[in-house]
């Protein structure tokens, strides 16, 4: 893949592709329902996922031993094992084998590992006849496309387009009737199986105990490829190895359910050793043992196994469910991811198995919403690994000069940063209406087409603190408030509400003046060095505050403090100790207040009033695991009637800088959110995250101006008399 791709243009082309958009939209709607139904007869999905994860972790810990055992067991049963360190080694081995055995025709069933190295292309250049036999793979091979999904490679094409490719390939008019086309494919490909000299399959798992490889398929082509030709080649990545026969159970209980919403695929085959085949000798069919070659494929996998974080890719069962729930994948499909692996897991695999350059171009398309982590059978922290790889690449190559300069000179210097924000509040005046900027001049206009941008407040929260601070006699607790940039400079009213609620609970609230940005924007870009500088300023400021709790009304800041600060200083004993001491006191506002209200009997359900619905921020729900508490607060707020909306926990499309840098992707995601809010009939949309508030407020202003947005803190503060 060239390093000078115009990713923006590629994205725009995909967004304009009506066929693709329609298909992905329907799929995104249907998938979660199908998956849920497939799990109906699984008692405890979470413990099933744990068993996939634990089994795979145990395997990667002993990978060399397990690979040795696998090789030994295959060899013992008459197979040959070749360990290919990369694509070139694999191709050389395979081509030599073809030459030696006089192979002319090859039938293939699906193998992503062979796509990874463009094997078909290589073999065809060498003059061999190679046919993909999986319907979807065959379609894209005759279309000359790359797969756009790991399980459904031709999801980007509709029946008319497929009929066109079929007509070209088969030299006759093919009607765009799906059942008819499938029959035509059956007829056209049947001879490929029967005449092939060699069959190449991938593998869904490889069992060290008896050297068996497992194939999970629906069409039956893999069974034919593994049965008819006298020479069988299995290409299997190291990550597919499992220790024992029984270890296939958690894979087989999750893979079909997650991949296609099936309890089991039509065929699951396990082949151990050289199985019998029939070859024609002197006009007679004679039974003989197959020639079996198992190629264990490295191509970056073994290096990943040695990295403490990246070894998580061994937990992947290639179900592709992470794509199916990804807000970005379901908008643009797989081709924009550049190499052959799409979506979040695709970005990671591309980095490890292909090139860091390709990864760098596409990694920002992960918006960190973590929906994938909720359903991944192996519980891989996909967004976390993407951030990790991003940080690694920044460590190696640095940030672009301009960005680094801004981070070091502006974000790491609180006074400069805050002065700039104050200046912005004056500079934006000509464009501001109320809390939002509705229009921007010239080329910025695209940013504000379907979404108004937030205006920087006239007076930041830090300048309002004095006015809202009450003297509390005999306070029950001392609370230090970390506002974060959004509350400080965009939504200072939210900060005022936080103060009001906590003071009403007889708590003393203080605002450490030297607090700055939590560092998330810098961390998101992979710049850990600047992030450490910023974190230290905050740590010092809050140590001095000597408070019982550090309070957050922004889940992103809370999570950054709670998890990332610990991570940032793990190799620095002094600062590590200082962080540890503070993070115990980190509290998220809604969950904290719900707990306090419960203690004093204020958490009773009320009915009637304005309809209010709630949007789960990604960081709040999947980062902090807070989702019931804000709802309890809304349900108990007099004057409000709580209703749920569809996809309440789906990302609003803000995701830090993503929402600005990739406006074209952010807007369709936001539009879905706004539509769901409207459909719920709510008059008020409550959020507990100021970043979501910024994004949704901007969308409402343009698309549903009658709906009001409020932070949960504001709604509960309304109930308190001054």
């Amino acid at each position: 893949m060239s390093s000078n791709r115009n990713l923006k243009q590629e994205i725009n082309e995909k967004l304009m592709d009506e066929t693709l958009r329609g298909s992905l939209n329907r799929f995104a709607e249907a998938y979660p329902i199908a998956r849920a139904k497939a799990y109906e007869n699984v008692d405890d999905i979470d413990s099933l996922r744990n068993s996939v994860r634990d089994m795979k972790i145990a395997t990667v810990e002993n990978l060399e031993k397990i690979a040795d055992q696998f090789e030994e067991q295959v060899t013992k049963r008459g197979g040959k094992v070749f360990r290919a360190k990369d694509g070139d080694a694999l191709k050389e081995y395979l081509f030599n084998l073809c030459k030696e055995k006089g192979v002319k025709r090859i039938a293939k069933s699906k193998s992503m590992a062979t796509e990874e190295i463009h094997l078909n292309h290589f073999l065809e250049e060498k003059g061999l006849h190679v046919k993909e036999t999986d319907l979807g793979e065959w379609i894209i091979s005759i279309a000359g496309h790359k797969p756009s999904h790991m399980v459904m490679p031709a999801i980007h094409l509709d029946r008319n387009q497929v009929a066109k490719y079929f007509s070209q390939e088969l030299n006759k008019d093919i009607e765009p009737d799906i059942a008819y086309m499938v029959q035509e494919a059956r007829i056209a490909l049947r001879d490929e199986f029967l005449q092939a000299d060699m069959g190449i399959t991938g593998a869904n798992f490889g069992i060290a105990e008896n050297g068996a490889t497992g194939l999970v398929t629906n069409e039956g082509n893999a069974r034919l490829v593994a049965t008819l030709p006298p020479i069988q080649v299995v290409i299997i990545g190291y990550e597919k190895l499992i220790p024992t026969i029984k270890d296939a159970v958690p894979i087989l209980r999750t893979l079909p359910r997650n991949a296609t919403g099936q309890l089991m695929t039509s065929y699951m085959s396990m082949i151990s050793g050289a199985a019998p085949a029939l070859v024609k000798k002197d006009g007679q069919w004679v039974e003989q043992e197959k020639e079996l070659h198992v190629i264990l494929f490295d191509n970056g996998r073994l290096k990943a196994a040695k990295d403490d974080k990246l070894k998580q890719i061994y937990q992947c069962v290639r179900c592709a469910s992470c794509l199916n729930v990804c807000p970005v994948y379901t908008l643009v499909g797989g081709h924009v991811y550049g190499h052959i692996y799409a979506g979040g897991i695709g970005a990671i695999l591309t980095a490890l198995l292909n090139s860091m350059d390709d990864f760098k171009q596409i990694n920002e398309m992960c918006i960190g919403c973590r929906r994938c982590t909720e359903i991944c059978p192996g519980k891989i922290d996909i967004p976390g690994l993407i951030e990790y790889l991003r940080a690694k690449s920044v460590e190696q190559d640095g940030l672009p000069f301009g960005v680094k300069a801004v981070f070091e000179n502006v974000l790491a210097n609180r006074k400069v940063f805050h002065n700039l924000l104050r200046l912005a509040s004056i500079g934006q005046k000509p464009f501001t209406t109320g809390r939002v900027i509705r229009h921007l001049p010239l080329f910025f206009a695209g940013l504000a087409a379907d979404r108004s941008l937030p205006a920087v407040a006239d007076k930041p929260f830090r300048d309002r603190v004095k006015k809202v601070t009450k003297k509390i006699d005999k306070p029950v607790k001392r609370v230090a408030f970390f506002s974060g940039c959004n509350i400080d400079f965009i939504f200072p009213e939210t900060g005022e509400s936080v103060y009001k609620v906590l003071q009403d609970l007889n708590m003393e609230v203080v605002f450490p003046e030297d607090q700055s940005c939590c560092g998330k924007p810098v961390l998101g870009m992979g710049d850990h060095e600047t992030a450490r500088k910023i974190a230290k300023q905050n740590i010092i400021a809050f140590e001095e505050a000597k408070a019982d709790y550090i309070m957050f009304a922004c889940p992103t800041c809370a999570e950054t403090w709670h998890l990332t600060y610990v991570e940032l200083f793990k190799d620095d004993p002094e600062w590590s100790k200082r962080v540890e001491k503070l993070v115990h006191n980190v509290r998220e506002f809604t969950s904290f207040v719900a707990g306090e209200y419960d203690k004093i009997g204020r958490l009773n359900k009320t009915t009637g009033g304005q309809k209010v619905t709630y949007h789960d921020s990604c960081h709040m729900k999947r980062g902090l695991n807070v989702h019931t508490e804000p709802r309890q607060l809304l349900e108990s707020a007099p004057g409000y009637d709580f209703v749920e909306m569809k996809d309440c926990d789906k990302c609003c499309g803000m995701a830090g800088a993503f929402g600005v840098k990739y406006t074209e992707l952010s807007m369709p995601i936001l539009k879905k959110k706004i539509d769901n809010i409207k459909d719920s009939g709510a008059e008020v949309i409550a959020v507990a995250c100021p970043a979501c508030m910024m994004q949704i407020q901007g969308g409402l202003d343009k698309q549903a101006p009658n709906v009001k947005i409020k932070h949960v803190a504001e709604i509960i503060a309304e109930q308190i008399k001054d």
């Binding site: 007869n41 629906n218 049965t227 029984k246 209980r253 309890l263 039509s266 199985a275």
Partner: protein, 201 residues
């Protein structure tokens, strides 16, 4: 005929096998478009087979030796105007153009509606993959409740060879995600479960 095991029965977990799991197995197999017949005797199974062959007007049938003799297929199909192939090389020559394939499978799995096939013999695989109608015969008491119980069983017998789960007919959703039955494998899967034991152990 080659087999991974000649005595699968002794490998079933004693607590987790039996006709009590049959109903769920049949329901789930039907959910994925398999046809399920449960019969008491070999004679009843024979009439089901005859009916299927009549209704599809089959001209060519391939069957494994394992199923041919206990169900006396040559006798019951004799009066019908068709060719029955049961020898290995005939199966290889004719399976691709046959209308119906008949073979035994070892057990059913209630959790998924799958049948487990001992696929080591080449004739077994040719018969259950190539013809458009696949009839598989099993004992109705050989049903395990879960995939875990299936692997309890498999791990006892699977040293080397070839073992498959078959779950409904061959299918694809590769064009517009529209479910379409019968791509490379059979478009019909018929499961005949017999209460009496027809195979010698």
């Amino acid at each position: 005929m080659k087999k991974v095991s000649n005595n699968w029965k002794q490998a079933f977990p004693p607590e987790s096998v039996g006709t009590e799991f049959f109903e769920e197995f049949a329901m789930r197999a039907q959910n994925v478009a398999a046809k399920v017949f449960r019969v008491k005797t070999a004679a009843e199974a024979q009439s089901v087979i005859v009916e299927i062959i009549k209704s599809c007007d089959a001209k060519k049938v391939v069957a494994t030796p394992e199923v041919v003799s206990p169900l006396e297929l040559p006798t019951i199909l004799k009066s019908m105007n068709l060719n029955l192939y049961t020898e290995q090389s005939d199966i290889r020559t004719h399976a691709d153009t046959s209308d119906v394939g008949i073979a035994c499978v070892e057990f059913g799995i209630a959790e998924t509606g799958s049948v487990c096939e001992d696929s080591l013999a080449i004739e077994q695989r040719l018969i259950t993959t190539l013809p458009p109608i696949s009839i598989v015969v099993m004992n109705s008491a050989n049903v395990v409740p879960t995939i875990a119980a299936a692997f309890e069983t498999i791990s006892k017998v699977f040293d080397h060879g070839y073992i498959s789960f078959i779950t409904g007919p061959s299918r694809t959703s590769d064009i517009e995600r529209v479910l379409t039955i019968g791509v490379h494998g059979p478009s019909q899967l018929v499961i005949i479960a017999i209460d009496e034991e027809i195979r010698e152990v």
